[in-house]
Symmetry: C2
Subunit: 201 residues, 2 copies
């Protein structure tokens, strides 16, 4: 069975512990060297217990993916209707990250490794498809809102959000897989784009 099947389970202590163990093991060894053994090593209980909670390694990893995507989505800045321009700036900050909560490289590494599995695993890919659409709609809504407020130009919200989404994914990939410090420069240019192509004059 997956996650908490009953709504009256204990506060899901064990699941969280397993997720944490998986996270640590993934960080240490990388996805392709991630084994049940190694997850068990980071877990206070025994490795066999993992099979009591999950049917298989795949089952566990799929739950872990869901866990991580939840974390990721919770990181989205909430939209206080105040100013769409402020909110967009929050999103840009979040994208290029400085000191977000657990926006460490570890977290980005984990997400990217999971994401890459989507290249060969339909189940994984459909999770990310849903997550991408969620994020994209969130951004598109903000932009639409900003246009109505008259602080953004009359751009296509769908298309603009798509480029934001692409930049977000690109940043995550780039940060983790290259030592070239392209990110600062890219950020400067992206902010120029926001100023000159999005904000009203």
């Amino acid at each position: 069975m997956n996650q908490g099947t009953s709504f009256l389970d204990d506060p899901d202590d064990t699941r969280e512990a397993i997720m944490r163990a998986t996270y640590v093991a993934l960080g240490k060894h990388g996805y392709s060297d991630l084994t049940i053994q190694r997850i068990g090593d980071e877990f206070s209980k025994s490795k066999s217990l993992l099979y009591h909670h999950y049917d298989s390694k795949d089952d566990l990893l799929l739950d872990f993916l869901e866990f991580m995507l939840t974390q990721l989505e919770e990181q989205l800045p909430v939209y206080k209707d105040s100013g769409a321009d402020d909110h967009i700036q929050d999103i840009v900050d979040q994208t290029f990250v400085f000191g977000g909560t657990h926006t460490s490289d570890d977290f980005a590494r984990a997400i990217l490794e999971l994401r890459t599995q989507g290249a060969n695993d339909d189940a994984f890919r459909s999770y990310f498809t849903r997550s991408d659409q969620f994020v994209r709609k969130h951004v598109a809504h903000t932009i639409r809102s900003g246009i109505e407020q008259g602080i953004f130009r009359d751009v296509d919200p769908q298309e603009t959000a798509a480029l934001f989404q692409l930049t977000f994914v690109g940043t995550m990939t780039q940060r983790v897989t290259s030592d070239d410090d392209v990110l600062e420069d890219a950020r400067a240019e992206f902010e120029r784009y926001v100023r000159e192509c999005l904000l009203a004059e």
Copy 2:
């Protein structure tokens, strides 16, 4: 030993065959399920022979990475000094791809899977670091050239190239790991960015 150690080797028939086999196996099974056995299965000769040409699986994979990056760099449109704007358009086309030679999803998948290994493997990461810098300099040079020609605005070539690079990586990641068809929209918006933020008025 790696690759062709002598410059007078036979036209590297075997190496190419091994690279091809690795490519096919990678496409079929994905990096984390890629085994010497499976590479051997796609290879006309026996699996043991792989160890005659390479010291270890890692050694083989590292050579494969170099092989793939060479392919990738050869795909860069050459800069005929005619017009920087045409050349930039070529680069955009290449980034968002339509019918490039082997710019199939298979190729993108393979590159992304290799790239993601860089998250945990320093050797892999340094290859991509070098490759990124190569591409970025190429784009920066084109932009600098376009500015001198007066067809681009007076932007910062380094920063602009960085955003191109980010978009390139983001596209590759997105294409392969999500069914959300964000790419068309993102392309439309990116071309708007080029028109309004890069091209002279």
